[in-house]
Symmetry: D2
């Protein structure tokens, strides 16, 4: 029983590893990849993604370019985090692969509607493409198994004091996705840097036959256990891949179904407000929580 998956990426070191896992893992059937501006400009994201597929010796997986900027926020560069090429300087050889003409929204629409069973969307980037898809082609919603997104935080932020980068980068897009009625799973900063990658996988990658695997595996070797060292916070090496891993091994994370709302106003703009109270929604005077979307939020790593 493989899981049919579409990845939405802004490759990115994080996304590179996630793509590799999605390509290679036998439990995942990677239908296609949509690209969006985020950690790197769109053209760079597309090129990086195609090169990563090459390095992964992937079959002919369709790739398409999507939104070049957020819905309302101005475009922003995260090159100080991910390097000028978004790949942290890991040189990958050029590729013959090409992106599809039709664009990411059309690619996603087609892949979802053509697939015989509901498809899982895994968003590892600002959710602009997903928001455009859901508003342009709402008929796909009923054919999406769920949307797993790397983003948000129920505690501290990274782009601001309380906001995580992907949601902060396009808060309106995230709000559209959360309120879409499609089941959502939030893989946020609360677990982002804490997921244990199995020794075995890292080792097999580092000493395997494919070029990317060796590079990534070597890097992984440094951080293969649950880390209490927050200095790892911005290296971004494992995070996005963890969201893919959660598909395969859902029991590794402790999740709770919680009311969640994306804050669009004020200093907290881009924060994912997660109602963690014992009795969510029993606030004294704010919006009734039954107007907040119920989201499965990954809150902790199951270290057992």
């Amino acid at each position: 029983m493989t899981i049919p998956v579409i990845l939405d990426v802004d490759t990115g070191v994080d996304d590179a590893l996630a793509i590799l896992v999605a390509v290679r893992h036998p439990g995942i059937d990677l239908l296609g990849i949509s690209c969006v501006a985020g950690n790197a400009p769109l053209a760079q994201v597309v090129d990086n993604t195609l090169r990563v597929l090459d390095a992964a010796e992937a079959p002919d997986i369709p790739v398409a370019a999507g939104a070049a900027r957020p819905l309302l926020e101005p475009p922003r560069s995260a090159s100080h985090v991910h390097g000028a090429d978004g790949l942290g300087g890991i040189a990958l050889p050029p590729t013959e692969r090409r992106a599809e003409q039709a664009g990411a929204v059309e690619l996603m629409r087609r892949l979802i509607l053509e697939h015989p069973t509901p498809v899982t969307l895994v968003a590892l980037a600002p959710q602009t493409n997903l928001a455009l898809l859901l508003r342009t082609h709402p008929e796909v919603a009923g054919r999406i198994e769920r949307i797993v997104f790397m983003g948000g935080s129920a505690s501290v932020g990274n782009a601001s004091a309380v906001a995580e980068f992907n949601v902060w980068h396009d808060p309106e897009a995230a709000a559209i996705v959360l309120d879409s009625g499609v089941p959502t799973y939030m893989y946020g900063l609360d677990v982002f840097n804490r997921v244990a990658i199995e020794h075995e996988l890292a080792h097999s990658l580092e000493h395997g036959d494919d070029a990317l695997g060796r590079v990534v595996g070597a890097l992984l070797g440094h951080r293969i256990a649950v880390s209490a060292d927050e200095s790892a916070e911005y290296t971004g090496l494992i995070g996005d891949a963890g969201a893919v891993c959660s598909l395969i091994d859902p029991g590794a994370l402790r999740t709770e179904l919680r009311p969640v709302r994306v804050e669009l106003a004020g200093y907290a703009r881009g924060q994912t407000l997660v109602d963690l109270r014992k009795h969510p929604g029993q606030e004294i005077g704010l919006t009734p929580a039954d107007e907040w979307a119920g989201v499965e939020v990954a809150l902790d790593v199951d270290e057992a």
Copy 2:
């Protein structure tokens, strides 16, 4: 070396215990008490406060009535939490004590300016009175040692998913206080229900000579240790008193100086945004953190 203190209260069971501690503890010189609407309507708060002073056999401590409602928010009742009289049904006998005519703002001004050394303000309620004082008589700011307030949260809220009741009840007032330039100490929900009251104190209260002490001590007997049971969250019996205790035994809490801002907009209105990142203020694009007030935030109980 006693600490000269003015209490700002919305008595309230919580505040009753805090007043008792402030009256009785040899380390505190209780100069006066200002009242504000919050957990109970203003007239009730004043009456409760005077009765509590009687029960505590306090000397002639001046009490004055302040704001009957928040700056902008509508008045709200918390009677479902604290009972119709705000004292949870603990009947205290009527008193001959009377509030000062001049009002809370004038009382605070006079007490602060007359005292030979800087005075500590301890706010156990929505901060409307303090905001009115600081804007009406800014000359007092230089004579305030610091403002210790029960309120806010660096994690989960109680009035909403992310906002604590006192700050949520009058967010503009809290924003005025935090940005006033007076040193502030936030005793929020992160420690509110977790402070250990010493057995000895509780025992001496319960078996002491004063009426209130016996009542309160009996109640305290049920929750004298650090509690992991969140079901105690809304009993409100210890919280405010903990803020007073933090004056006497500051080492019992782990605090950090953090940029804090009160959110005034959106769903997060009333949230105290606390920048807990390793490198606060290095956000990518929001308000530079040097515009956020530095607040000493109590984040944890030192259980050592």
Copy 3:
């Protein structure tokens, strides 16, 4: 020299007349029509639009269904204004015409990119389709001559005290359009009910050969002059057509190039803030006006 035009509509009586003018006027080359939910639900809008084309004896003009709801706002009905069918009860016979499968965004993209000269978009409805187009296919922006939209107000509103219905219905979409860099022309409430329809046109319609023309012409007969009677405000009979007429006879309106911004927050949400000051942008402390898009705003009817 005809003007190549794509209409974006939520037909609607207003839009019906506008479509008729666009179909029949020799100065306009109507390339296609995109439909969006607004005055009526999407399916109704599409059906109304196809029937209107039939009644107009239009050639085979492509029509496509677009967004069924706004980006962030919940769907809303305006059936109290436009009747249950959005056509005010004007019964039009069923039609054999069918909408294109590809959808409105794809239709607009294709029509714009295929046309040898830049195309004018005329939006007579909430601008959801345009926003989706500009974010999904930004390459079209350089091929759009300008966007003329019925919406906004530099004075009083209709959906709220200060907001006009189309912008208020999807404020984020309007903000995306105004900030897109494409030249925009705002045909708002300031002129909406004040444009003179020439007697001759109304007369020729009323006594012409086509079914819709007779219906519409009869209605027009009641309001063919500049009206000072604000009681006409909600009849909505001429408004959208006026935006089409402005293409043909631009001199009939007095316009000014003004900084405009769509308010997204607070009570003014959906207001088009138009800087009408003698020296726009010289405000004391707000956002520099050079960050506000310059919009050609129709402010008055030239009654000369």
Copy 4:
């Protein structure tokens, strides 16, 4: 029948003329003057006010210093409009008069409660003092006849595209005043520069015996008629005095009772939203207008 009046000022050329009118006009009984930071810093405002009273040969009218800054907004200087001293360089001799120690809030409270009949407050500046008064001493509300304020706009702004300076300078204070339940009269930009000062008054001032009168009269001579020249917009010479004149000659202005709300969020922050629709409050989905305060808004000069 004289009208008992307290003026709240940020003198200021405008306020100087208004004070003169209030001192000299037989229909007004000027009880006292409260000062607030606005056009000039507080100390300057107090000094200017005292000098103006001297120049007006006023009796011993109590003056007191109030708020040195707005509730939430940072202090701002308008010295580019009103000159470094706020009096546009009109040198007035020093005075022996002194401000009262008690402060503006206490002065207003005392004057209102001591007067046998309800008092009219005329606010010619940011409304910080009034807001502090109403929240600190709500018992005065029932003793205020009404609050006439220079501020706001139902059309274009001056501090921003849509906001007038006094309201924009302290929006929360204006919101508190409008929602206080005290009858309010808005003398905003819609009439600010359009009020005709009677020739007779200007002439008698210019050729009268008092120093200020001669100075002000000379200036008035230039603008004694209804002016269509908007270049006068920022000279600020008549505006505030017009609000005082409206007390004496209410028929000179056309007013309407309209729902008004101060916008606190977004780009429109500081705008006075005035519902000018034929059927106010019948918006489709926003806050019901019955939650908006009814304000008597001066909309036009009666030129008959």
